[in-house]
Amino acid sequence: MFKNHIKIAWRNILKNKGFSIVNLIGLGIGVCACLLISLYVVHESSYDSFVPNSENIYRLQSPYSMSDFDDVGVHFSANMASTMQSEFSEVLKAGRINDVQSFPGAGENEIQINSVPRQFHEEKFAYADQEILDIFSIPFIEGDAKTALYQPNTLVLTESMAKKYFKDESAMGQTIILNGNNDRPYTVAGVMKDFPENSHMDYNFLLTLKDMEFSEGEQTRWFLSNYYTYLELSEGTNTEEFEKRLSQTMIRKYLKPAYLKAGFDMAVNLEENMSLRVQPIEEIHLYSSDVSYEVGKRNDIQVVITFAIIAIFILLIASINFINLSTAKSAKRAKEVGLRKVVGSNRRHLIFQFLSESVLVSIFAFFIGFFLSVVLLPFFRTATGLELSIPLNEPLFYLVFVGMAVLVGVLSGIYPALFLSGFKPIDAFRSKSEQSRTIFNLRSALVVFQFVISIVLIVGTLVINQQMDFILNSKVGFEKDQVLQIYGTTTISDQISSFKEELKGVDGITSASISSFLPIEGTRRNGNSFSKAGKWNIDPAIGGQAWYIDEDYLQTLGITLLEGRNFRGKSDSGNNTTIINQEMAKQLGLENPVGKQISRFNDLYEVIGVVEDFKYQSMKNKVEPLSFYYGLTPSIVSVKLNSGSVERTMTKIEDLWKEFAPNQELRYEFMDESFAQMYRNVERVKTVFSIFAILAIFIASLGLFALSAFMIEKRRKEIGVRKVLGASTASMVKLLSSDFMKLVFIALLVAIPLAYYFMNSWLQEFAYRININIWVFVLSGMAVLGITFLTVAFQTIRSSVLNPIKSLRSE
């Protein structure tokens, strides 16, 4: 019986080639899209699940809220970890990581191996406790993971770094010097495996925190928050209850008294405004969008969910093609159904037969989809920026894959199967098996559904593209073009001023400036509290940035000084003067700021100038208060080039660099590129979204193409008669396409509000955003109408140019 089903299914596939191709290609593309997106979704959801005992490992968080300010902090004071461990018996281990760039050694460094003078630039440095190695059970290649960070001045590096610098030699015991600091050489005490791609932590070098104190009292002051704090809790800890006790004890007993003692009077209400939470490490990657000031490749669960929904929709669209085409060609199968019933088949047999057919088609399509995915995977890797791979070694993958193939086959075949098997044999033999109205309506509803998804995706693609263009081209308040950032200049910090002066003398360079603070994410930031002069600790303070710049900064970056004066040079060093942005003036309520004083913590500064607000962080955030101080922060030198030959100027810069740092390669980036980098993630979402939107529309059109072919096939006689009676081809096209056009209009009515709602909520993420323009909808509607019309018109013209006698004779 089953063999017979397979046989007839196979012959049916061969016999209805057009139908089968549409089904196989449509479903195949759908499966490919779905598989690729699933790889992405699985990858994104798998973060940190590889850590042994991951279910008991947490990162400490503190949600903090004040009148109009909500934030989730993940940095804590140095003594938090040890105090928690002694206070709470369920805290089995507590460890800290410090990767805050302003701590020398954390973040990026120029390194020297043993005593060789040659400098190399390396990134991903962090300070860590031995407990971090223990909590995360970080696997070691060399050395003892239990003691590697136990001695002062030791470090652990990754396998790939060990290979890079020590080749086949053992890395153990070798010396690494950071930024030419010969007073504190580090000894390699272990080689760990590289962090997997799906790890929220990503470091190449872990420097020990043993005996470290970065400044006086830094290890014991409760209000200096620079450490990620990780905890291993005992099995079965009730985290909710634990968090309650944690917040009560830590805030009441330690934080509040310490804050008050340090003069932070706002801490009176600390218990109401702040709490402590533990976040499971597996949630860090996708559920940290409310955390600001966190470096790392975090994703948002919303993005992942959106992609998962798109994947399901694409598969749905392809399955709908299957359902629609199967029921549309039902008339052709009716005779067979009748016959089978006459010779003894019952309905169960027939349902089983039709399901076997659809499952067979589905399995084929899944294979096509699989091979397509293999071919397209490299492109998808580029688009997502992730090293995704199909888990061919996992038996579970095959099980799920085949299971999905059967499921899709059954789900898309069940309706046609029930419908076809329900034919009564005597009805089936009457040459015209009447299509009941409900079938037509269901099919129309499914087509409308496909159109709705397509329109929403088109609108989405247009809006995302517009928003991206807006961000990349909108006025940011500074000049990012023709600006070169030279990194790693910390190593020449004693000669950095003369390096800058010489740069200014180079032909083709307009100006140069020394500052580690740039309006580009990833450069230095800090958090400070400000208030009006004399109002410190009386009014609630405002949060803002305090950047150290030189006298050439504003000119180099093209930042507009609205009133007052620029820094004059060294004379402004230490004289308590500041230049503020408009937002700072506004939030402090300063009418004519120049000449007024402001408090930064307890110190008073005189405002000497006001700059126009410029967007110094991602446009997802509003411009926040910012103040400039004169000072040297020597890790980045920015250079403004004039429009002359960039190449020649670059050569000169390189020559100059060699004079100052003969052992270190010049490392630079153009600012417009770094700026674009800030939006790489959005850019990727845009690319992936666009690709899948186009796919969805393509599959839907494919289905429409085949469906209209069937509908017109059924009306061939009508077309013949009308032609004989003198109808023109144009009037036939109008007649036949109007049915489908009506469906598109209905779909537009449903899709426009939906698309508006979704895209509007997506745009809310951006502080600076476009308004959704009416023409986006007009364009999307026109596109779908156009595609539909062309598809149907092609079929109609094809059948109406046939000699009408032919179609009449064939009846």
Partner: protein
């Protein structure tokens, strides 16, 4: 074998009720060859559908082999049908996607015959119908006469007690038509009950008895010798 009493069937549209069978009664004995004749629209095909349990009557009684089947549901009817009744149609009604062999095999599959037995039985019937050499062909590759022989082979492969034939020669030329009539006669002589609807006086003469119908009622019954 078959006994119908006061059988009624209506077709209703929104406004008109058409009577297809009007209190029709007759009996066909086991081993008989009966022909049903009458003008188009007299209810012949409706009658054959009810006799073949493809349709149910609106009134009256239908005893098949002594069992009342008028009120049987679809499943019971299908079950009784596949073991007892074979059909031959005017337009052959073979499944285009299946070969000759597979078409004939189909009823055996649905009655659960084992594959080896099926092959033997199908070969035997194809041999008898003299289309063994065409067993791997598809219906479109055969002439009308050959197709109808395949249809007859399919109708008899299960050894049904009754064969219902609806204008079996209607689409055939006279020589092919005669061949098919000879086949039916042979089957009848071997003991199969045959009820045939036909327009053709020529074909009717192959039967034992002609039942003539008009407007859903029996008009005359001629017994032929």
């Amino acid at each position: 074998m078959i006994k119908i009493t006061n059988l009624e069937k209506y077709y209703k549209t929104e406004e008109v009720k058409t009577i297809a069978l009007n209190k029709l009664s007759f009996e066909v004995k086991e081993g008989e060859f009966a022909a049903i004749m009458g003008p188009s629209g007299c209810g012949k095909s409706t009658l054959l559908n009810i006799l073949g349990m493809l349709d149910d009557p609106d009134g009256g009684s239908y005893l098949f082999n002594g069992i009342e089947v008028a009120n049987f549901n679809e499943r019971k009817r299908a079950n009784l049908r596949k073991h007892n009744i074979g059909f031959v149609f005017q337009s052959f009604n073979l499944i285009d996607e299946l070969t000759v062999f597979e078409n004939v095999e189909l009823p055996l599959i649905y009655t659960g015959v084992k594959p080896a037995d099926r092959k033997a039985r199908v070969d035997e019937v194809l041999e008898k119908m003299q289309i063994m050499h065409r067993r791997k062909h598809f219906p479109q590759q055969l002439s009308g006469g050959q197709q109808q022989r395949v249809a007859v082979a399919r109708a008899v492969v299960n050894n049904p007690k009754v064969i219902l034939a609806d204008e079996p020669t209607g689409n055939l030329d006279s020589s092919n038509g005669n061949e098919v009539m000879d086949l039916l006669t042979e089957l009848n002589e071997a003991g199969t009950t045959i009820i045939m609807v036909t327009h053709s006086e020529h074909d009717a003469k192959f039967s034992h008895r002609i039942i003539r119908m008009l407007d859903g009622q029996k008009v005359t019954e001629n017994v032929l010798v």
